[in-house]
């Protein structure tokens, strides 16, 4: 491919498709790179290979039927999506969920954050050729999935929350399992850090690769760990606290440079902070109801349904029609593993959402990928792409 530069030189470039089906792109993404030798001169990002029409599909069902769809957004941390969606709908209703439900949700969010970061970092390390770390992290992830199995029967797509509460209360022994996993996460992180932290090859491969400065990151609209890696101290858990995050002791991890190394280590240290939050939350877990006592969203107690006319009607309406949020528009977001995950919900007062728009954190990161890679080499595509953690399910929806 012959190209003329603005200076008037003619370059003979080779175009290479990285993706849509390529081992470096975890998911179906396409990056068309123009190479001069092995250096990337320019590139184009393309998305949409996993477009499933999420936002149109959800208009066909009731609010409760949207929940299983949200699992498929960021499938590495499905529970955060469940909780994010429920949080938005609850905001429309103006419902406050009970204390036990809040603490349970915090535990689930933080454990999901841990497994999401684990997957991101391990996949990134595999792209760098450090295959062994994969299993050190994946074994821990498996332990978390065992808890998920016990909690709701599903591993990947959990659908664990309900509007106004949870699917069910935690099983007996949940706290013990969670604390045991916390220790294993710390051990695995120590092991992987031992392998990579002072490894010259790892540092060479990740330092100064894919730098995104704080200004660029803000301009691209980045959120979450990638933004923090660029040196911007923004974390919704600190800045716009929800679910009582202001009462937990934890630090926001901020990088300095915004390169791949920073993004990997921001995630690794964030996992340690999440472990500390989980430990604090387990201490706060008190017995109590997990569903809001609100007739608009929660099913009445079984006993009342059998002996009380109003409860029977209530149950009937909720099961056959679904919840009816008041007409209006609402945006609510939380700090998901990947960044700010927001749901804009427009309700016309009916049982089906009129429109749901997801603010996916990946989208802005993918938009920045092509400029990020300019001047780097083909091998850096794999490492940089892993570090911004694009989940195609969330990107294309």
């Amino acid at each position: 491919m012959k190209v003329r530069t603005p200076q008037g030189d003619t370059l003979d470039l080779m175009t290479v498709n990285i993706g849509p089906s390529h081992p470096a792109t975890h998911g179906t993404l396409r990056f068309l790179a123009a190479l001069d030798g092995e250096t990337i001169v320019g590139g184009v990002c393309e998305m949409g290979f996993l477009h499933r029409g999420f936002e149109k599909m959800v208009e066909q069902g009731t609010y409760s039927q949207v929940l299983p769809f949200t699992d498929r957004l960021n499938y590495c941390s499905a529970m955060i999506n469940n909780i994010g969606f429920c949080k938005s709908v609850e905001k429309m209703f103006g419902i406050t969920v009970p204390e036990r439900c809040i603490v349970l949700r915090v535990i689930l969010i933080e454990l999901s954050r841990i497994i999401d970061h684990l997957v991101c970092v391990l996949a990134n390390l595999v792209d760098l050729g450090a295959l062994t770390n994969f299993w050190y992290f994946f074994n821990v992830r498996e332990e978390v999935y065992r808890i998920w199995e016990k909690l709701c029967g599903a591993r990947l797509t959990n659908t664990v929350t309900r509007i106004g509460g949870m699917y069910r209360d935690a099983y007996p022994g949940f706290e013990g399992d969670v604390l045991a996993v916390c220790g294993k996460v710390e051990a695995a992180i120590a092991e992987v850090r031992g392998l990579i932290e002072y490894n010259k090859i790892f540092i060479q491969r990740t330092k100064d690769i894919g730098i995104v400065t704080a200004e660029q990151a803000i301009a691209f609209g980045w959120t979450g760990p990638c933004l923090r890696a660029s040196g911007v101290d923004r974390d919704l858990r600190k800045d716009e606290p929800y679910y009582g995050y202001e009462t937990y002791q934890f630090d926001t991890i901020v990088g300095t440079k915004g390169d791949t190394f920073d993004r990997i280590f921001v995630r690794i240290f964030e996992m340690l902070e999440s472990v500390s939050i989980v430990r604090q939350a387990v201490g706060k877990l008190k017995p109590g109801p997990v569903n809001a006592a609100d007739a608009r969203v929660s099913l009445p107690p079984r006993d009342n349904v059998y002996h009380d006319m109003e409860s029977l009607i209530n149950s009937f309406k909720l099961v056959y029609e679904g919840v009816r949020p008041p007409a209006g528009e609402c945006y609510d977001s939380l700090e998901a593993a990947n960044g700010e995950l927001g749901f804009t919900i427009i309700s016309d007062g009916g049982t089906n959402p009129y429109r749901i728009k997801v603010k996916a954190p990946c989208l802005t990161q993918w938009a920045a990928f092509a400029p990020m890679m300019e001047g780097h080499m083909v091998a850096d595509v794999a490492s940089a792409l892993g570090s911004i953690n694009i989940i195609a399910g969330e990107l294309d929806r």
Binding site: L128, A130, Y136, N199, Q204, A379
Partner: protein, 448 residues
């Protein structure tokens, strides 16, 4: 007619062995390939804290046991699968080169053993049987020439594939080969300078009279080791394959037997590289890194040396029986499927019986060798050949240690980027090799 041939063979045992060895040794090396693949898989599983290959099995009819061989059967299934796959040729390739290319690395890999001294030269009435099949004066230079020819297979294959990923892989392989050939050659020159000869037999003989190479040339050894990793395209230098960047690099478009040829060539080169490291820096067929235990001493005490080796192997096998016993206990504890559990128990019981018997048999053989193998009983000819076999096994044992190093490194550290490899090769290794050469030259001149 036949009797005359037999008579001639009986009268000229050394000449006959000299004729047969060039075929036997590469084939013997080829037999190490499955062992190496098993080592890679088991080693990876061990390092990565996972179960490893344990599914493929051969049912033994009458005993009703499924023999899994700790993943050994996978080599068989892999080979059968690859051999019987459709010979698919992509429509866009250059057909001629595409067919020739995979054979080149394997052929060069099979030629290099001819240049390695496997045992000390045997002097007999009317000639010398050298441990090197081709005892050329150019020695190690010819070996390097042979080994570096293998990159032509990679480059040709990548060019013939007519695919961009392959092209990038082949380009990386050729650039890397050129860069590391230089530092590899320079690193070994220090050793050759001390020895004063480029013949590998001389290098090994010198190590027997003085001490092993890595003691006098530690820097050279490290440089040579790193260069060998690069020559074999092994992690951290496996950018030519670079599976996360270039899909599969130069062999993206190859499948079936052609892919198998590339893979077996890679492992064969690993063995050859290990043998070369062992030969140049770890004494080759020499037994111990101290003078006085050279080939003559081994020849005089070959029965005892063999006995000690056999006892070592027997102890290894009996230790392995203990490992199997532990694994059996683990399976009995953790297998949830009762049928599975019964099968494993039976299978491991069989292994324990077989390995215990084999270990005891080896102990018996060791005793027999201690008592029976001596020059009075067997005569010069047999002692010569037994010594050669023992020396061959010494080389292989040393080489296997380095093979394990290859596996260990592969599963521990990440991969370099292509330009970083070039930097390391030209800016670091080359300079260190030159300084090492200079220091060696000065010291060698001063000491004499």
């Amino acid at each position: 007619m036949l009797s005359t041939i037999i008579d001639w063979i009986a009268a000229h045992p050394y000449q006959v062995v000299g004729l047969v060895l060039p075929i036997v040794i590469p084939l013997a090396l080829f037999q190490i390939l499955p062992l190496l693949v098993l080592m890679e898989r088991r080693g990876a599983a061990m390092i990565q804290d996972r179960a490893g290959p344990n599914r493929a099995y051969i049912p033994i009819p009458f005993l009703n046991v499924k023999v899994r061989g700790f993943g050994m059967i996978f080599n068989l299934t892999d080979a059968v699968k690859l051999l019987f796959k459709e010979h698919f040729t992509p429509p866009f390739v250059h057909k001629g080169y595409y067919r020739i290319a995979p054979a080149i690395p394997l052929i060069t890999g099979l030629l290099t053993p001819a240049l390695i001294p496997w045992f000390s030269p045997i002097v007999y009435q009317g000639g010398v049987l050298s441990g090197q099949t081709i005892d050329a004066n150019s020695g190690i230079l010819m070996l390097f020439a042979m080994a570096s020819l293998s990159v032509y297979g990679v480059v040709l294959g990548s060019w013939a594939s007519n695919s961009k990923y392959s092209l990038l892989g082949g380009m990386r392989a050729s650039a890397m080969m050129i860069s590391y050939e230089v530092s590899m050659g320079l690193s070994v020159i220090g050793m050759l300078m001390i020895v004063g000869s480029v013949s590998l037999t001389d290098v090994v003989e010198w190590q027997g009279q003085h001490t092993w190479g890595f003691v006098v040339q530690p820097v050279g050894f490290l440089l040579f080791l790193v260069s060998m990793f690069a020559e074999c395209n092994r992690n951290p230098f496996d950018v030519a394959e670079g599976e996360s960047e270039l899909v599969a690099g130069f062999h993206t478009e190859f499948n079936g037997v052609k892919f198998m040829l590339y893979m077996s060539a890679e492992y064969l080169h690993m063995i050859v590289a290990s043998v070369l490291i062992a030969t140049v820096y770890f004494g080759g067929y020499q037994l111990l890194p101290i003078p006085g235990f050279g080939p003559e001493w081994v020849k005089a005490h070959v029965g005892q040396v063999l006995a000690i080796g056999l006892v070592g192997m027997a102890l290894g096998l009996l230790g392995f029986v203990w490992v199997i016993k532990n694994r059996k206990a683990i399976h009995a504890r953790s297998d949830s499927n009762p049928q599975d559990k019964a099968e494993r128990a039976k299978e491991y019981g069989l292994y324990m019986a077989v390995f215990t018997l084999a270990g005891l048999g080896l102990l018996g053989a060791a005793g027999a060798s201690w008592a029976l193998i001596n020059i009075e009983r067997l005569g010069q000819g047999w002692i010569d050949f037994i010594t050669a076999a023992v020396q061959f096994n010494i080389v292989i044992a040393k080489a296997l240690l380095f093979c394990w190093l290859f596996v260990w490194v592969r599963w521990t550290i990440p991969r370099f980027r292509y330009d970083q490899i070039m930097d390391l090769g030209w800016k670091v290794l080359l300079n260190v090799a030159l300084v090492n050469l200079l220091v060696t030259a000065v010291v060698a001149k001063l000491i004499g």
